[in-house]
């Protein structure tokens, strides 16, 4: 072994690098940097997802874990929202003699809009924050580096598996929330009128068309992607110890919720344009 200790012969390049002072970045520069980093991080998902190894066991484990975390809260919220919407709108519809439209109204609003968005926002609060905190603590305790030094791509092992689980989970959860919400609405209807479940369900089914189901479902997968990728991005880039973990977790919720609402706005415009 030979260890050399060259005297510090500073060359020009290194001098400038060493004397560079930390610069305070402006808000706009930081915003651009974060957006760029999130975009690059998201785009990496698509090539990575098709390259083996697929780690299906991990995907299954996350599905189990994330699903069991979200089902109770999403279900209860769906039921209550359904109940409230029916209770709120029934008097108005009744005044115009249109209360037989109630099942159709609840069905369309749930399937097209309320179901996907409510579910996504709840899962964002529950799952995105959890992923942010989990990966964040892995980052600050060097567990992500430990995966890296084993020659394993942590993006594939940690990010791709979680995002896939979110993409698969979201449509299923949304279908569940839709069903529970419609049931909640029926409960409100049944309390105040004598409409039978059969009649209610028939008018629900009749009112829904293909054009309601597909955008609603496609949307959920996109929301799932947002929830997973934002949580992972925040956690993956957490820094500054335990404080950083907390920050990653809160930012994940705020950012994914905002992105969900924003994306929804664009998608609504898009679906209206495709299916006028």
């Amino acid at each position: 072994m030979r260890i050399q200790a060259e005297e510090t012969s500073l060359n020009a390049m290194n001098t400038s690098a060493n004397q560079e002072q930390p610069r305070r970045q402006g808000f706009f520069a930081r915003f651009l940097e974060k957006t760029g980093s999130l975009t690059v991080f998201s785009l990496r998902f698509f090539p990575s997802v098709f390259v083996p190894p697929y780690e299906l066991g991990e995907v299954r484990r996350h599905l189990d874990d994330l699903g069991s975390k979200s089902i109770p809260l999403a279900g209860i919220t769906g039921f209550i929202v359904g109940l409230i919407i029916a209770m709120q709108t029934r008097p108005t519809l009744f005044r115009f003699g249109a209360d037989s439209f109630l099942p159709a109204m609840v069905a369309i609003s749930f399937v097209r809009e309320l179901g996907p968005v409510i579910t996504a926002l709840i899962v964002a609060g529950r799952v995105s924050s959890g992923i942010g905190a989990e990966l964040g603590s892995m980052r600050v305790t060097e567990q992500i580096e430990a995966i890296e030094v084993s020659g394993i791509d942590p993006y594939k092992f940690l990010v791709v598996t979680r995002v896939l689980a979110c993409i698969l989970l979201q449509p299923l959860l949304t279908a569940m929330v839709n069903a529970i919400g419609l049931f909640g609405a029926y409960v409100a209807v049944a309390i105040e009128s004598s409409m039978s479940w059969q009649l209610y369900w028939d008018s629900v089914v009749q009112s829904l068309t293909f054009a309601d189901l597909i955008p609603g479902l496609a949307k959920t997968a996109i929301f799932g992607f947002i929830i997973g990728i934002v949580g992972c991005h925040q956690g993956f880039h957490a820094e500054g110890g335990t404080v950083g973990v907390g920050r990653a977790s809160t930012t994940a919720v705020v950012l994914s919720s905002m992105l969900i609402i924003f994306t929804d706005m664009i998608l609504v415009k898009l679906t209206v344009w495709i299916w006028p």
């Binding site: 072994m1 030979r2 200790a5 290194n14 305790t141 030094v149 020659g151």
Partner: protein
């Protein structure tokens, strides 16, 4: 033959320079120890060698390949021949000790369940922790974590080992045992290793050559005996403190 060769590495964080023109060469089958005060940049140096941190300038050659310039795929292949013991052990919180050890091994070679279990138990016996196989990392003491981390780093039979403070947090007896383990592994498998440590006794047992990282520069390299004779202020302070 030089297996690990660090050339003129510079690294600064936010304008605060940590490594300044650091160069070192570790021959195949030998062990080097790097001594240095807390915050001297020892961990940073090791992370540069395995490609976790990019230096501002300079290169880190392993087996003739520059880690700094390699693509992700190539560096992953190279890392499979290396082992790294983290200062804080960095065990996977969500996995048991068994799963922690299985994780790198399963993804490198295909083994039957029995062979896998066998390798895991053997490795844990080496560090004296076979009884902890079903425990979660949160149930282990700091020193136990460190030893599991060591077992995990060694389980894939790496050619090159990088140890970040292998004996800190261990009692003197275990510390000696671990040092002798490192020495014997090195002799048995012709391991090439770099250990960063404060522990002079450990350095004495494991290292063929020693270097001191001081003020961002790697200086006063040589065998332990030559350094012990040195009159230099920094070198003396290391020997006086133990």
């Amino acid at each position: 033959m030089a297996l690990v060769e660090v050339q003129n590495i510079w690294k600064a964080f936010d304008g605060h320079s940590v490594l300044r023109n650091v160069s070192m060469v570790v021959e195949k089958g030998t062990a080097a120890a790097v001594l240095g005060k807390s915050g001297a940049g020892k961990s940073v140096l090791l992370k540069i060698i395995i490609g976790l941190i990019k230096p501002d300038a300079g290169s880190a050659m392993i087996d003739g390949k520059d880690v700094v310039a390699l693509r992700r795929k190539e560096i992953n292949a190279l890392r499979k021949t290396m082992g790294y013991l983290f200062q804080g052990a960095a065990l996977y919180d969500s996995m048991s000790v068994r799963e922690n050890l299985a994780f790198p091994l399963e993804r490198q070679i295909t083994l039957t369940g029995e062979e896998l279990e066998d390798r895991i138990v053997t490795q844990l016996k080496l560090v004296g922790l076979e009884s902890a196989i079903n425990k979660m990392p949160s149930e282990l003491s700091g020193g136990m974590k460190k030893r599991v981390g060591l077992a995990r780093a060694l389980i894939t039979n790496p050619r090159i080992m990088l140890y970040d403070e292998p004996t800190t947090g261990l009692d003197p007896i275990t510390s000696r045992e671990i040092s002798y383990l490192m020495r014997s592994l090195q002799e048995r498998y012709q391991l090439t290793s770099i250990a960063v440590t404060h522990d002079m006794q450990c350095a004495k047992i494991i290292a063929d050559k020693v270097a001191i990282l001081h003020d961002g520069c790697l200086e006063h390299q040589g065998t332990l005996e030559t350094l012990e004779q040195s009159q230099d202020e920094t070198v003396r302070s290391f020997f006086v403190s133990v």
